[in-house]
């Protein structure tokens, strides 16, 4: 199946995925871990283990950096 994936603050990717692909597969296809990004469908987050039911999604990813060094 074909899915358009817009990484918010990043680029847009045209992905070709298996028919039974999940939203987690979208994240993997754009090089993001499920720990650092969420898939949005119509502005609402969706579970990564849910099968894809749309042809266009957005990805909200975490912003890097900023934690105080040492973290004590």
């Amino acid at each position: 199946m074909d899915v358009t994936c817009e990484v918010l603050g990043g680029g847009t990717h045209e992905l070709e995925l298996d028919a039974d692909a999940t939203y987690g597969d979208v994240l993997e296809a754009v090089g993001l871990s499920t720990q650092e990004a969420s898939v949005l469908v119509g502005d609402s987050p969706v579970p990564e283990d849910r099968r894809i039911e749309v042809d266009s999604v957005q990805v909200l990813r975490l912003i890097k950096g900023g934690a105080t060094p040492g973290g004590t």
Partner: protein
């Protein structure tokens, strides 16, 4: 796919617990975990009363973690007369980045009607991080300078407000990364310091004889992605941009390692923190007894074991100046 608690449409899946949750139950879950952490850590002293409330200073940067923290604290304690909340924002002088994040802070504190103070490196130290990063007189990552200045600013304003506690928005990922960095460096003294500085419950920490305002991290059980998700679902004003100087390469390596482990073995971060906290408690007990700073900086009076503290050294190195200089 349905929420395991109510059958509504699920918005997220927590692999470490197996739960699928809808927006409402997810937000409720985050809120209850933060409140549990506040209770478990005995954050609110039994001595606090309406007549003699505790003052908590909250470090508010405009990023998702501190915005969510400030929002949750206000929601929990706004009507509790035993706690007074003050948000402190530090403007580091990073062109284009800090001005936008400051706007997010102002928008939030206006919404919440919370007392808010803004300080800047320019006013406090006569430096701006863009210039520091460019000059780099000590050959360090920008974060290393910025961390020293920020900690000093937070500590001094905590003193000025008579704050009993200083709260920061470190999340589960931040703490697990720090735990791994400390363990992999083999620095047991740093592990012990971590416990007494911010990790341990106030019932287990030794803070009474410390010259520093004790710190706490109520979000430390919440995975970073869930903090971002909470901010999104609650429609909070979050500054979404990366600091242009963020460059802690080693922490980035640890982060990637932990992503992989958590993906393959859900619950890894929680297990790391559970074991690390116990080890840190043991290390702290073994290391206590006169290792904290016992003197004051000749220049600014901050606690230090040296004649001049690290912050003042760096202010000199980067060509800055303190407000008292002339």
């Amino acid at each position: 796919m349905q929420c395991d608690k109510c059958g509504a449409e699920a918005v997220m899946h927590a692999a470490y617990s197996g739960l699928h949750l809808c927006s409402e139950h997810f937000r409720r879950s985050v809120e209850s975990r933060v409140r549990r952490r506040i209770r478990d850590d005995a954050l609110l002293s039994e001595a606090a009363t309406a007549d003699d409330p505790e003052t908590w200073l909250v470090g508010l940067s405009g990023g998702k973690d501190s915005v969510v923290l400030t929002h949750l604290l206000e929601g929990t304690f706004a009507s509790d007369p035993r706690v007074e909340l003050v948000a402190l924002t530090v403007h580091e002088g990073i062109d284009g980045y800090r001005d936008a994040s400051l706007e997010a802070c102002l928008e939030l504190t206006d919404d919440l009607d919370i007392e808010h103070e803004v300080v800047s490196y320019a006013d406090e130290y006569g430096v701006e991080m863009d210039a520091v990063a460019e000059d780099d007189p000590e050959g360090m990552a920008p974060c290393a300078y910025c961390g020293v200045f920020r900690r000093d600013a937070l500590s001094r304003y905590a003193d000025e407000y008579g704050a009993d506690k200083l709260l920061t928005g470190h999340n589960l990922d931040d703490e697990a990364q720090t735990a791994m960095m400390n363990l992999l460096s083999g620095d047991i003294a740093q592990v012990a310091k971590h416990f007494d500085a911010s990790l341990g419950s106030f019932e287990e920490r030794e803070v009474d004889d410390s010259p520093f305002v004790p710190r706490a991290k109520p979000l430390r059980d919440i995975p970073e992605k869930e903090v971002a998700l909470y901010a999104h679902l609650a429609d909070l004003p979050v500054h979404m941009a990366e600091c242009p100087h963020a460059s802690e390469a080693y922490r980035g390596e640890i982060q990637e390692l932990l992503y992989g482990l958590e993906d393959d073995h859900p619950g890894t971060r929680h297990s790391i923190m559970s074991g690390y906290e116990e080890l840190a408690r043991l290390a702290a007990e073994a290391h206590r007894g006169g290792e904290g700073p016992r003197g004051e900086c000749d220049r600014c009076g901050a606690p230090t074991n040296n004649e001049v503290c690290r912050k003042c050294d760096l202010v000199d190195a980067v060509g800055g100046e303190l407000p008292g200089d002339d």
